[in-house]
């Protein structure tokens, strides 16, 4: 990393370490003087916020693991023991359970920021893809974490989601048996989920490291989507953005704390305070709120896809739903290669801006559909939204590539900033 010429430090201890392992030089280069566009808005706080949430989750999670027992007979009561008898156990668990939700809130806003300002575009494609990998790992981790308290929703959520893999032709059933460690969700399932739930956060941490590394190669995008052209466009990361990020993190923590201390179970489901019972199916199985849009897409495919006029089923509805659900994430991976429009920021893309805002509304509506029983208006509504979800990537963006006019961009960040302050 930091190699070649190195500036000497005055402090002899720091200098002694740095001349042998230049960590201080690296920090100085990557977080001290690192040139950062000077026109960030508060959306750029969410990377730092997500990082704080990841660390919060790992720290609270490790302490919880010291008190938790991954055994189907006692998992539920070991969680109750944490809540009642472990010193500040309730705080640890509520921080961790709500922390998952707030980690997702931060990451969803972070992803939206990237889509709005075109942060995924050349040369930041790999940076974006690493981000989607983190998102995917987060989903796996959160899903397995929700199983651990071994309540009714844990058990039945695990049953529904793992069963999805049985839709895969030929190998599906074997995969499900492997996931379960048996022939139904049971103690072996809980054990392997606990092991993986402990492992994956560290994998996430490693990919976050790559994500940040890639960021420090290309530098940050900014609200104008115009690359910095020189010193007049940037500021050193410290103290400008370290201080701004600290402020943003604190505001986020206030909202997070309000939930942890005053509404700790608001984002959860009451059924998960009922111990898992393989003989009693809850009337209405729903995943955690952050999965609902994807759950709605999964359930939107209610029909088999057949070869016309023959009646031969090509893709059964269940497999279709699974393909659609994974496809919805695959769209995010493909986004940098689908969107070829030369302008990055939606600020200068009036058409894309509208399409994206509709996309956000559609994602919310899908979330609502996912939380409702699959009947009545919710099914066709989810289907229409699913069509828009995919059309946004596969039809609208390719159309905009060719048709959306290319507006004149500001000559530089500094230029735009000066003009704005003159107007004000």
């Amino acid at each position: 990393m930091a190699s070649g010429t190195r500036e000497k430090f005055d402090n002899p201890v720091i200098e002694w370490v740095d001349s042998r392992l230049p960590v201080f030089s690296m920090m100085q280069k990557e977080y001290g003087v690192f040139p950062t566009p000077k026109n960030f808005n508060y959306f750029w706080n969410f990377g730092a916020i997500a990082m704080v949430m990841l660390v919060t989750m790992i720290v609270t999670g490790i302490v919880l693991a010291m008190n938790y027992a991954a055994n189907a007979d006692i998992a539920f009561s070991s969680v109750e023991r944490i809540m009642r008898d472990v010193n500040h156990g309730w705080l640890l668990r509520y921080l961790h359970a709500n922390g998952a939700s707030f980690f997702f809130i931060a990451v969803y806003i972070h992803i939206f920021r990237g889509m709005y300002y075109g942060s995924y575009k050349q040369p930041r494609e790999l940076l974006w893809i690493l981000g989607v990998v983190i998102f995917l790992l987060m989903m796996a981790t959160a899903f397995m974490g929700y199983v651990l308290p071994w309540g009714q929703m844990s058990f039945w959520g695990a049953t529904v989601i793992t069963n999805l893999f049985s839709a895969i032709p030929l190998v599906g059933d074997s995969i499900v048996t492997l996931l379960w460690g048996g022939f139904s969700v049971d103690n072996p399932t809980l054990n392997r989920f606990f092991a993986l739930h402990y492992l994956l956060p560290f994998v996430i941490f490693a990919v976050v490291f790559l994500h940040v590394w890639a960021l420090h190669v290309t530098g940050s995008n900014n609200p104008l989507g115009v690359e910095p052209k020189g010193k007049q466009d940037t500021l050193p990361f410290h103290p400008y953005y370290t201080m701004k990020d600290t402020f943003g993190v604190l505001v986020f923590l206030i909202v997070y704390s309000a939930f942890v201390f005053f509404l700790p179970n608001y984002l959860g489901h009451p059924d998960n305070y009922i111990p898992a019972d393989p003989l009693v199916t809850p009337p209405h199985i729903v995943p955690e709120w952050y999965f609902l849009p994807f759950y709605a897409i999964l359930r939107a495919i209610t029909f088999d896809i057949t070869i016309p006029f023959t009646g031969i089923i090509l893709i059964p509805a269940k497999l279709g739903g699974v393909i659609a659900m994974f496809g919805s994430i695959a769209m995010l991976f493909a986004l940098p290669f689908i969107d070829k429009h030369p302008v990055r920021s939606a600020v200068f893309r009036p058409w894309y801006k509208i399409a994206l805002m509709v996309f956000v509304v559609v994602a919310f509506v899908l979330g609502i559909c996912g939380g409702k029983p699959p009947e009545g208006i919710w099914v066709p509504l989810a289907q229409v939204c699913t069509v828009y979800y995919f059309a946004f990537f596969l039809v609208i963006i390719p159309f905009l590539n060719k048709k959306e006019p290319v507006l004149e961009l500001p000559a530089s960040i500094n230029d735009a900033v000066l003009k704005k302050s003159k107007k004000a």
Binding site: Y42, I105, V286
Partner: protein, 253 residues
């Protein structure tokens, strides 16, 4: 841009109530509780009365297996009172030095005595229905204390044309309206020492509060801590806002 940000966060937060729709057609009446709100606390009198109702009525069928007698100190009982309460119940302990199991009085460190040895026994004694454990009932049901109060006061004559099977009762709050538990409360079945009215409504209110405490014994300390945490974060955020403003004062951005 700040507006968009607040809107985004706000819409995320308002989004989830839509997720949990009530499953019973009946809408729970919202009751007033002393433990509501950010400064809410339990009413010790109501907790003790609620415990009395639980031990004299509910505990005949419903266990509370996550509670120990020592937890009752939080209700305002002294050490000696808790010991006395615990010693009314027995537990099978052992094996002793001779390898024999023996029965002894319960101690404050023992769990609440369950009415049945296991779920099968509970079902057998209740016509196939399992009386749920009540340790977490207010967290395990939509509506919490309102739900418990609603069930206990929700017994009605079934509407005309509805046939109830043997052992079923009509309750306006229960999902599907059919409940295996007969109306457990009636006026004057528990005598209160503090002069509170001995009505079904008062019993239901007290026991709902007691069960809320049982499910969330940490609530008072949690809310007190929360106020301190948020005040600290507000002050810290205020300072950081000024710091940020001062640092950025000379930069056009």
């Amino acid at each position: 841009m700040k507006k968009i940000l607040t809107l985004t966060v706000a819409s995320f937060l308002t989004f989830s109530p839509l997720v949990h729709a009530a499953e019973s057609g009946h809408k729970l009446e919202n009751q007033q509780w002393s433990f509501e709100g950010i400064f809410g606390t339990y009413d010790r009198g109501a907790l003790q009365r609620g415990f009395q109702v639980y031990s004299q009525v509910c505990s005949a069928c419903h266990s509370m297996k996550y509670l120990s007698y020592r937890n009752l100190e939080a209700l305002g009982y002294t050490d000696d009172e808790v010991k006395a309460i615990a010693s009314q119940y027995t537990i099978m302990d052992g094996p002793n030095d001779e390898g024999e199991m023996f029965e002894r009085a319960r101690k404050p460190s023992d769990r609440f005595k369950s009415p049945y040895d296991n779920d099968k026994a509970a079902r057998y004694a209740n016509g196939g229905a399992l009386p749920p454990d009540l340790s977490l009932i207010t967290k395990a049901r939509e509506g919490g204390a309102d739900y418990v109060y609603g069930i206990l006061t929700g017994y009605e004559e079934p509407p005309e044309g509805v046939d109830l099977a043997a052992g079923q009762h009509w309750n306006k709050v229960m999902a599907g309206n059919k409940i295996a538990m007969a109306a457990p409360l009636s006026d004057d079945i528990v005598s209160y020492e503090d002069g509170s009215p001995t009505t079904v409504d008062q019993y239901a209110r007290d026991v709902a509060q007691f069960l809320t405490w049982a499910a969330e014994p940490e609530m008072e300390i949690r809310k007190r801590t929360g106020i301190k945490v948020i005040l600290f974060l507000l002050a810290f955020a205020g300072i950081m806002y000024s710091v940020k403003k001062k640092i950025w004062a000379d930069v056009k951005h």
